[in-house]
Symmetry: C2
Subunit: 286 residues, 2 copies
């Protein structure tokens, strides 16, 4: 088995597996959590990828996000990957919370030295799912959805838009929706991609959604708390995304909800996890 | 206001308040979490005290226990107190995870030097509820239930049994059910109460339940994971409690569930939080 199971934890009638594996895209051992709902004991189940935000590992949401509760009811496996390679010993990678370790932004770095292993886009869309589907026969490779929080919301939106047909649905919590226009995104894209802003645009959800009608439709659910300090500091910019979706005719089935008083924390995610799992279930079981 | 609100966090349609107050029983500032469900905006709501286990503060369960979800549906406030006084500067109080700071055991210490401020029984049953009911008019002082985990499960069972009529119902997750017969309990009781084992018995749930029929009945729900290492190490001893309840005729409405494979973690609690809130709701809304 290419995965090592470091713990098996009973959760909501199913099992939360703590996994590690050696990933070639990132050039290091990657840790993740895989939740197998009770239904996986007797049948194949669809899969929801949950991409975490800055500083997080796959542990945080598995402990605080309460996706296991609705996933156990619907019969959906949840994959919680890590947010970057770890331990590559690139000079400076541990210096900031918003760049390097814990901040891979779900893109493939092209600029040295990060081009060495910061290949989170390839890891999430190719190497990890291939490894999971080959090892866990309970997972249905034909029914996959994606969601995420903050940096992971950016990841979910962009990976959905870049890979038509790969995911049945997408949703996001407080996504960094227009990274080329906010400090977090500018710093990350300059560091991982270099100074060419045309290159940046290929990884910006707002630019991507503006490029015409999305193949297969754009049935996205986005939740944004109005008490979120990062929203107030213009790091997230969901309005830009909404406007671009409207201009490109992708707004018909796009639901952006502004949730009164909610912040950027896992309390916010936990409160609406059921809605996002149900959103995914609608397409995974269509 | 005797409480300072250090944060107000939106959670499942209600508010999680992070509070501190100066407590005279413990002689220090005490922190706690209070969850007000959405129903508290327009009416009085009953209250569930959740007592945490060794090493925890009131934060852990508010983040990982998933009680807010069912509490928001039923309209029940949840109080998450701390597990001991903090910062009393008693020599040795920070030396072990299972004694002193984070390990107050919900009893009033009688032995010096802990008799100074380790008065968690008085704090939980008297000072804290009085302060809460006087400051938060949304809380219905006539409808209160109690639950808890591990050391806090011991707390919930013993405080329910010691104070007839104070709580409408009791439940527990993996309680230390017979502390005078396990290493954790022996260490704590010796340290807080001294060497007189007759004194210890006044604070042991299994001894307390053996003393005859509980006034008003004993409608308790207890969950115990069979994969719980502390259960295997005989720290919890729920069988002793079950046997004592049977002998004293208190087993008719006592439900002890052995949950296959579940461990001692918050994953276990989260999985059954809804059952425990529903158990409390049955009596709080009777």
């Amino acid at each position: 088995m290419s995965f090592k199971i470091t713990a098996t934890i009973a959760s909501f009638g199913g099992q939360l597996l703590k996994l590690t594996h050696n990933a070639s895209t990132t050039g290091c051992e990657m840790a993740l959590n895989l939740y197998l709902p009770p239904q996986a004991k007797s049948s194949k189940v669809p899969v929801l990828f949950y991409l975490s935000g800055l500083t997080c590992t796959g542990d945080n949401c598995s402990e605080k996000g309460f996706f296991q509760h609705p996933a156990s009811q619907k019969g959906i496996a949840v994959v919680y990957p890590d947010t970057s390679p770890r331990g590559l010993k690139i000079a400076g990678e541990d210096d900031a919370y918003d760049f390097g370790t814990g901040a891979g932004f779900y893109i493939d770095a092209t600029k040295e030295p990060y081009s060495k292993g910061y290949k989170m886009e390839s890891y999430i869309t190719s190497e990890l799912p291939k490894a999971l589907f080959s090892e866990f026969s309970q997972l249905d490779s034909t029914r996959v959805s994606i969601t995420g929080h903050s940096m992971g919301g950016h990841g979910a939106l962009t990976l959905f838009l870049k890979n038509p047909g790969m995911y049945k649905s997408v949703s996001a919590f407080a996504p960094i929706a227009n990274p080329i226009k906010c400090p977090w995104g500018e710093k990350a894209f300059r560091g991982y991609l270099g100074d060419d802003k045309e290159e940046w645009k290929q990884h910006d959800a707002t630019v991507l959604i503006s490029k015409g009608k999305v193949e297969g439709g754009f049935n996205a659910l986005i939740d944004q708390g109005t008490g979120d300090n990062f929203y107030k500091q213009l790091q997230l910019l969901p309005e830009n995304f909404a406007e671009a979706a409207k201009t490109s005719g992708n707004d018909k089935d796009l639901v952006i909800r502004y949730q009164e008083d909610y912040d950027h924390s896992y309390f916010f995610m936990a409160s609406f996890a059921t809605d996002h799992v149900n959103h995914a279930a609608k397409y995974l079981f269509a």
